[in-house]
Symmetry: C2
Subunit: 215 residues, 2 copies
Amino acid sequence: MQENSHLPRSAEAQSGTRRPGGRTARTRTAVLDATLAELAEFGYGGASLDRIAQRSNVAVSTIYRRWGTLEALIREVADQLTTEFTMPDTGDLEQDLRYVAGAIVRLRDSPAHRGWLDCMVSTAVRDPAARRTLTVAIDDRAERASVAVLRAIDRSEVPADTDPIQVIRWLAAPLYQRIYITGEPVDLDLAGRCAAVAAHAARAGLLSGFSTGNG
Amino acid sequence: MQENSHLPRSAEAQSGTRRPGGRTARTRTAVLDATLAELAEFGYGGASLDRIAQRSNVAVSTIYRRWGTLEALIREVADQLTTEFTMPDTGDLEQDLRYVAGAIVRLRDSPAHRGWLDCMVSTAVRDPAARRTLTVAIDDRAERASVAVLRAIDRSEVPADTDPIQVIRWLAAPLYQRIYITGEPVDLDLAGRCAAVAAHAARAGLLSGFSTGNG
């Protein structure tokens, strides 16, 4: 199971610190992989813990004991989106943002993630629980990526009151629009455009001074 | 029915030219209103022509004769998004774009449109027919709005190779992101931000020279 895992190595390594290479880590990987596959096939509303147990060859009682609910399991899958994402430091805002936008394109190109992300977005419009899980995953990623903007503030490349999260959102928005609204493909060229526009807007002070929690 | 209609006056007027204030126009308005309500309640996959007939008090045979299929009916509802949208000419790109972004916020604030747009977006992820209808409606609106960019090119406010459709897309993307991905409210302040960033990027030449049909 491990050699075909869709989960990032960093996540396996993380579990591994608790019990290196042990059964716990293997079980976790198998169950989370099975959850991804289940969501992609049956959707958020149709996913079943029993089938996830079958897919992963892990006893359903083990899954209940460890995760409690299907929703907790789905949240842990969503957390992978964050742990697999690490920001480089190129010393230039546009270059850093190009990496962030590129990570969205790469995530989209991953068959394992594509299925469950589609499922989460289509469900989120009508289901508040799916919306919450999706929003937390996106916010966590944006939070990680926003360090690029904080560094640009430190370098005085952008105004001190630039809103780091808003820069990441403006960066990602044209990609999400194509992925989820128009259904068009996204590529690294487009990621570069996104980075150029967001960096330019931030430098010009257009993404500064948002009131908290709004916009 | 007409006084509570969710359809724009211009659309009624348009039908009216064929038979002013007549039965045809009233039937059309009633059926399209009923379709909006049906989509909002049952979704794209669950909508039924029979129930639309009941809701509108129009014989189902009349609906079949005039529209042929449920999909044609839904397409005509989507067309309303375009016909109700007319561009002012303020002589300034950012001001014109502010109007376009404001129209998206107003559309979102309209309870009648909100329901069916949610339904289209959530279905589009999995259903190619819903995706097509949604994409055509969005493209038509973008096409209409892009006249603001063509005028800015004429005034030499932006480079001659600025891509009008891409400017409108970049303008709209942060709004769609909040509406459909994060589920946050949108307001006219945010619309103003969107206009400022898109106008600025266009003036700086960052939305120029796209290869056709891509990005």
